[in-house]
Structure formats: C-alpha cells, structure tokens
Amino acid sequence: MRRWLSIAEISEMKLVFKILIVSASAIIIGLAGVRAGEETSVRLPPAARLGRTLFLKNCAHCHADDATGDEGPDLHGLTRSDEWIARRIRDGKKGQMTAFGEKFSPKDVDALIAYLRTLK
C-alpha cells in the first residue's frame, strides 16, 4: 500500500541526496585533478616532486617542460649513473650547459635526479 512521506522524511532524503551530489562532485573533481596534474602531486614521491619544481624553474628552458629536449637533449630514459648526472648538474658542460653548483644544494641535486629517474 502506497504511503505518503512525511515532511521530515522528505527533508532527510533531500539532505542525503545533496550529500551524494557533493561527494560525487568532489570525486569527479579529484579525479580530474589527478589527470590534469599527471605526475605532479599524486604520483610522484616527495623528492621527485621537489625535483620537478626545480626542473620546471631551471631546466625546462632548454630541455622543454616535458623534458623531451629542445636546445638541450631529451632527458627520458637516462642510462648514466646518479653520480654522473649529479656532476653534470653541478659543473655543467662548457659552452653547452649552465653549471648549477652555486645554486643547487646536494638535496636539490638529489631531488632533480629522483625526478629524472621517473622519466621513462
């Protein structure tokens, strides 16, 4: 037998519906954020996140935002050792690449290498 809902029940249902809508929106926005930011904040470990920031501010100028290379080479799939990369970052290459030894701390260099290692 059909029963009419009371005003209190209707109000409660409206509230539940609103909560569901808000929750779904939050999930959608969150997923979109992950997609838009890709590896920026969610997928990268903390050290690589710092490395990415440093990369975009200092290295992207020559290696491109996506590190696929421009004036400088593509940095994906580097096979050099961490020590070699750290030395290149610190000392640069005469006439080819800026030396960052006076700017980056050892922690910065480690972070950059951590980021570069995520570029497959």
């Binding site: 920031t53 975009l56 501010k57 200092n58 992207a60 100028h61 491109a64 935002d65 421009d70 004036e71 640069g92 005469k94 006439g95 080819q96 690449m97 800026t98 030396a99 960052f100 030894g101 006076e102 700017k103």
Partner: protein
C-alpha cells in the same frame, strides 16, 4: 639601413587599436615606427627611413636599447652571436647623434658563465658611448642566483639589482623580474621590489616622464610561453598617474608594441637570434631562419626624447 616594408600605424585615440587583436597589431622584427607621446596622448608616424637621420634639436637626448645578446650561444640559429653584437655596436657608433647612454635589457650571456660575461664586457668596450645600464635576463642568473651578474653590474643597485636614475628630466627605473621565475616561466618582481618601486615613485610629479626597463615583458604578451610578469599589473598600477610611461623589455626576441592609456609597451629585437611569433611554434626558443635573413630579425632600438614637449619616440632598426 633597410627597413622592412611592413609598417604598422596606431593612433591610440581614434584608430581603434583593438586590445583583443593587439597580437595582430604588433610590429615584427625589422619594422620601423615612430611613436610620439605628448601630454600622455599617443600618436604615431611612419618612418621614412632612419629616424636618426633627422637632426637632433636642442633640448633633446637619445639613448639606445639593446637586448638578448646571449653571448655563448652557438647553435644553428646563430653560430656567431659575438659577431652580430659587434654589428649592433657598429650601428650604434654610426648614429649621427651619439646616444647619451645604452640600456641592455638582459640575457647578456647564454649560460651564465664568467667567460661569457667577460666577452660581453670586452665587446661593449667597442661602444663609443661608455655609460651602459643593465638589467639581468634569466640566462644571466640561472646558474648562481645572479652572483656573477651582481658582482659585475650590481654596484649601487638595490635588493637583487633594481635601481633608478634621472636623466635630463626623465626618470628611469630598472627592474629585475628574472630571479626565481615561476614554474610557468612568468617573470616575478617580488614584494620587496614592488615596495621599493612604490616608494621610488612616491612624491614624484605625475608630469615626470617615466621609462621602465626590465627583461621579461611587464605586460602579458603570451602567458602560455611565460611571456609576461605575474605582478606586472601591480607594478603598472603605481605608474597609472603618470602622464608618460614607456616600458622597454626584451626576452621575446622580436618587436612588439602595445598602448594602454598613457603607457607604451615595447619589446626589442635580440642581437643574437629570433624566436617564433607567439603561438606559431610548439614552443619558444631559438629560431633558425633562412640563410641570409638572420639580420632582418636582429637589431637595436633607439629612443629619442624632447625635453619640454614630453615627446618620446621609439625606433627599431634591424641589422640588415
């Protein structure tokens, strides 16, 4: 000296310089145009030839802007940037009226190496004009937060290299917007510099002609490529009350002009290599042009000021 045939006219008061379409209204490398600002109202005229061919009248002075020399760059876009800088110097030395001084709007070097700074210094000693004012480009500070740049050019400056000076009634302000540039490449001035700017301008008569120079454009040219300054609008808000403001920038390696109210924005050509027009390449960067055409894209900017009349004229000339 050849001037390319594409010459644009803008009468800010009546010709409907369309803000939406300002990118289409830009004057590209090699064009020549005379801008006059009188009492804050802007007019323009086609240059019949070299503006400098006109005799200087009494009570006037001129100066030259050069930019983006990128000493140390050696890629295909220009394998002899020292050579093209020498050509620019020769052009300046050949001006009928020697400039009172030179403004270099940054990217003196390409890799921020000491040898590059030294080479630039040696080359600029070839100028007959000994007074040169500098602001750094991001290439000059990228490796050491400006240490080498400030050691050489920071004497007497404030903060991280900004300063101002007066010359024959005109107030010049050199801003630094390349320290700690943002992830998206936009320039940044920082709170300390903005406070200094506000203080520097306070108490000055609004009739004082102002010239602001910095490396990255203070106006938003093309944010997708980082061609703008994030706090540019705030800086410009301090300049609104002045009747004649000229903003000179480099960084984008091509001439572009825009007028907003009493403010004229102008970017200069590089002496080293061109970059693509905004959005017409996947990304910015050195652009290789047809053999023999490079000098059509490189050049200098001459600025003439007439005391008393408030007139300011900006003239671009290529190295071709």
């Amino acid at each position: 000296m050849k001037l390319k045939s594409k010459i644009l006219l803008h009468d800010h008061n009546h010709d409907g310089l369309d803000r939406r379409g300002f990118l289409e209204c830009m004057a590209w490398a090699g064009t020549g145009m005379l801008w006059t600002v009188t009492g804050g109202l802007l007019g323009s005229a086609i240059l019949p030839g070299r503006a400098s061919a006109a005799p200087m009248m009494g009570g006037t002075f001129n100066f030259v802007q050069i930019s983006d020399s990128h000493i140390g760059f050696n890629k295909d876009a220009n394998k002899d940037v020292a050579g093209t800088l020498k050509e620019a110097i020769a052009r300046i030395n050949a001006l009928p009226e020697p400039p009172d001084f030179i403004l270099h709007t940054g990217d003196l070097t390409h890799l921020c190496e000491a040898e590059e700074f030294d080479t630039l210094d040696q080359l600029l000693k070839g100028l007959k004009t000994s007074q040169i004012f500098y602001v750094p480009g991001e290439h000059d500070v990228i490796g050491d937060n400006g240490k080498k740049y400030l050691e050489r050019f920071g004497k007497g400056t404030k903060g991280r290299g900004w300063y101002s000076f007066d010359h024959k009634g005109v107030h010049f302000i050199g801003l630094v917007n390349v320290m700690d540039i943002k992830e998206n490449g936009l320039g940044i001035l920082g709170g300390e510099q903005l406070e200094w700017l506000k203080d520097d301008l306070s108490g000055r008569s609004s009739e004082t002609p102002i010239v602001v120079f910095a490396h990255i454009p203070l106006w938003t040219v093309y944010p997708e490529w980082g061609w703008g300054t994030s706090e540019g609008a705030q800086a410009l808000s301090y300049l609104k009350r002045f009747g004649s403001v000229t903003v000179l920038n480099g960084h984008i390696h091509q001439t572009m002009k825009k007028v907003e109210g009493h403010v004229t924005f102008h970017t200069a050509m590089s002496t080293a290599f061109p970059q693509p027009e905004p959005g017409k390449a996947p990304k910015p960067g050195p652009m290789k042009v047809e053999a023999g055409k490079l000098r059509d894209y490189l050049g200098i900017t001459e600025v003439n000021y007439t005391e008393g009349k408030g007139a300011l004229a900006i003239v671009d000339a290529t190295l071709a």
